[in-house]
């Protein structure tokens, strides 16, 4: 059976689906509570936050479960800040889902947190964040593992709290997805949805290259409507050595992009920041030789009005049983006004996107 689009309110068993979207805040807030949750049924949550700091001083963003404010939270973090790669572990009264790295007010933050919510055991989460972004400067990128030392209580609310008043500034947006598990509702046999399903990640572009290319353009996008994209590229190197970049609207203006990355290459850990790029780099420390493979995944906040921020992971330089590098990168495009209507995936070497390269773009249907 075919069907057209499925609009909100709709829940589809077997998917991760949006259950809360703050929209871009029109007035600054200090905290937002997402309530009426049922963690024991939902089991998993995915929290995406793009924050514009609106506080008088730089703030961190906390996440509390059931508004528990006791020292019941633990974390281990791995971070890259300029050329420093470091790690810390601590016990706190909250999870820090983004962190003021240095000292800039009014900066942007972008984070993704995956939470295992079901009671019976300690609750855990994994968070990626890129922090304190202004113009072409990305101050930090972090990977965190969290625990909530509560095994008994059903999670009924998530509390997102800035530790400075109005830290959730105008333009901030909080989106929560849950794993949908439903035994009630309308049962269906084969159902082929021809239009959008509200609240799910939908693949809107897929291209496997049969001929090597230097660049591939994904056109006809509506970034201000779509808001969030997830790009996945499996590059097969098509030249002696090529790196993959991304240009929204093919903007090649010099010094319009920046990044902060954290990398592991063999036994070396390192961090690097750049503020003078002409593209987003999906793997600043890696390149693909001929027929080598790299896998990159990038989450992009596409809507105009603010700097466009991206958080990406990369593994590169793969041949046989050699994996050359692994990287976590925060990227920024210093352009706030123009709607994204295309994304150009490009190599810095002619035909660097070799035969077999796959490019996939997903949109979160909001």
């Amino acid at each position: 059976m075919k069907t057209g689009k499925l609009e909100s309110p709709i829940t589809v068993d077997g998917t991760m689906q949006v259950i809360y979207d703050s929209g871009e805040l029109s007035s600054a807030q200090t905290s937002i509570t997402i309530s009426n949750l049922n963690g024991d049924i939902d089991e998993e949550y995915e929290l995406i936050v793009r924050r514009k700091d609106g506080g008088a001083t730089p703030s961190n963003l906390q996440l509390r479960l059931n508004n528990d404010s006791d020292s019941n939270y633990g974390y281990q973090q791995l971070y890259g800040q300029d050329t420093t790669a470091g790690a810390t572990r601590n016990v706190t009264s909250r999870w820090y889902i983004d962190v003021a790295e240095v000292d800039a007010t009014g900066a942007l933050y972008f984070s993704h947190t995956k939470i295992y919510a079901k009671s019976g055991y300690i609750r855990t989460a994994v968070n990626q964040q890129t922090n304190e972004i202004t113009t072409t400067t990305v101050k930090g990128v972090r990977l965190l593992g969290f625990s909530w030392n509560n095994t008994a209580d059903n999670i009924t609310q998530l509390n997102v709290i800035a530790d400075v008043a109005n830290g959730l500034g105008v333009g901030s947006r909080i989106i929560l997805l849950k794993k949908v598990t439903s035994t009630s509702g309308i049962k269906t046999g084969n159902l082929s949805v021809q239009g959008k399903i509200y609240g799910v990640w939908e693949e809107i572009y897929r291209n496997e290259l049969g001929t090597a290319a230097t660049s591939v353009t994904i056109s006809n996008l509506a970034g201000n409507t779509d808001v969030l994209y997830r790009l996945r590229v499996k590059q097969v190197g098509g030249s002696a050595g090529s790196q993959v970049g991304l240009r929204p609207n093919n903007d090649s203006t010099t010094d319009t992009y920046g990044y902060q990355d954290l990398s592991g290459i063999n036994t070396t850990t390192a961090a690097e920041r750049s503020t003078t790029r002409n593209r987003m780099w999906l793997a600043p420390q890696g390149s693909e030789a001929n027929n080598y493979v790299g896998l990159y995944e990038l989450l992009l906040y596409a809507k105009s009005g603010y700097l466009r921020t991206a958080l990406n992971t990369a593994t590169c330089g793969i041949t046989a049983t050699t994996v050359t590098c692994v990287q976590l990168v925060g990227n920024v495009w210093n352009e706030t006004a123009t709607e994204i209507t295309s994304l150009v995936v490009l190599s810095d070497d002619t035909d660097g996107l070799g035969v077999g390269t796959e490019i996939v773009l997903e949109r979160l249907n909001l």
Binding site: T269, T321, V323
Partner: protein
């Protein structure tokens, strides 16, 4: 068109050009040592996302391994970046499995997410993140790794999770997402 809840009978029954849950298992009754997710068609599904929350049922150190098509030969490569407390380190090696994480004591917890680029024709690339040996308010370590499976030809038909005896303890949750296309 609007509708309320839709409950597809099987993951393959709904085609949304997106991610659908293909496997969902929680360990109950008694701890398990291994489990196999079979019936996969990697060349059709193209991408998998494996999410685990493992509760260790083994009284000691237990690694959790992933094998593709149960390939136990030294056909996997790894580059890992990890940290414990204030120590940051990296390692590169070749293995007979993908170690998605580990747990150092009974009842401690591991949470992982593994993205698998499944389609044959080229070496398979994998990205994994893990939050490991979690107990109380202590997160022992964090790792972020890239893997390869040095097999370009075979369609992926199964994923096998392995541990020490009883390592997949009661309460362990294993979920596999796959892409389903119109």
């Amino acid at each position: 068109m609007r509708r309320g809840k839709i409950t597809p009978k099987l993951a393959s029954n709904i085609k949304i050009n997106g991610w659908v849950k293909a496997y969902d298992h929680t360990v109950t009754g008694s701890a398990e040592t291994s489990l196999t997710i079979s019936g996969l068609v990697g060349d059709t599904d193209k991408e998998y996302k494996l999410e685990t929350r493992i509760v260790s049922g083994y009284n000691g150190y237990v690694p959790i391994w992933l094998r593709i098509n149960n390939d136990g030969n030294i056909n996997y490569g790894r580059q890992v970046l990890y940290c414990e407390n204030t120590t940051v380190a990296a390692t590169r090696d070749s293995l007979s499995h993908i170690p998605i994480g580990s747990i150092d004591a009974l009842n401690k917890i591991l949470q992982t997410e593994t993205i698998i680029h499944a389609k044959s024709g080229y070496v398979r690339a994998i990205i994994n993140s893990a939050n490991y040996s979690v107990s109380g308010t202590t997160v022992t370590g964090l790792e972020f790794a890239g893997y390869s499976w040095n097999n370009t030809a075979d369609n992926i038909t199964s994923l096998v999770l392995l541990s020490e005896t009883g390592g997949l303890g009661i309460g362990s949750s294993i979920i596999l997402w796959k892409k389903v296309f119109r």
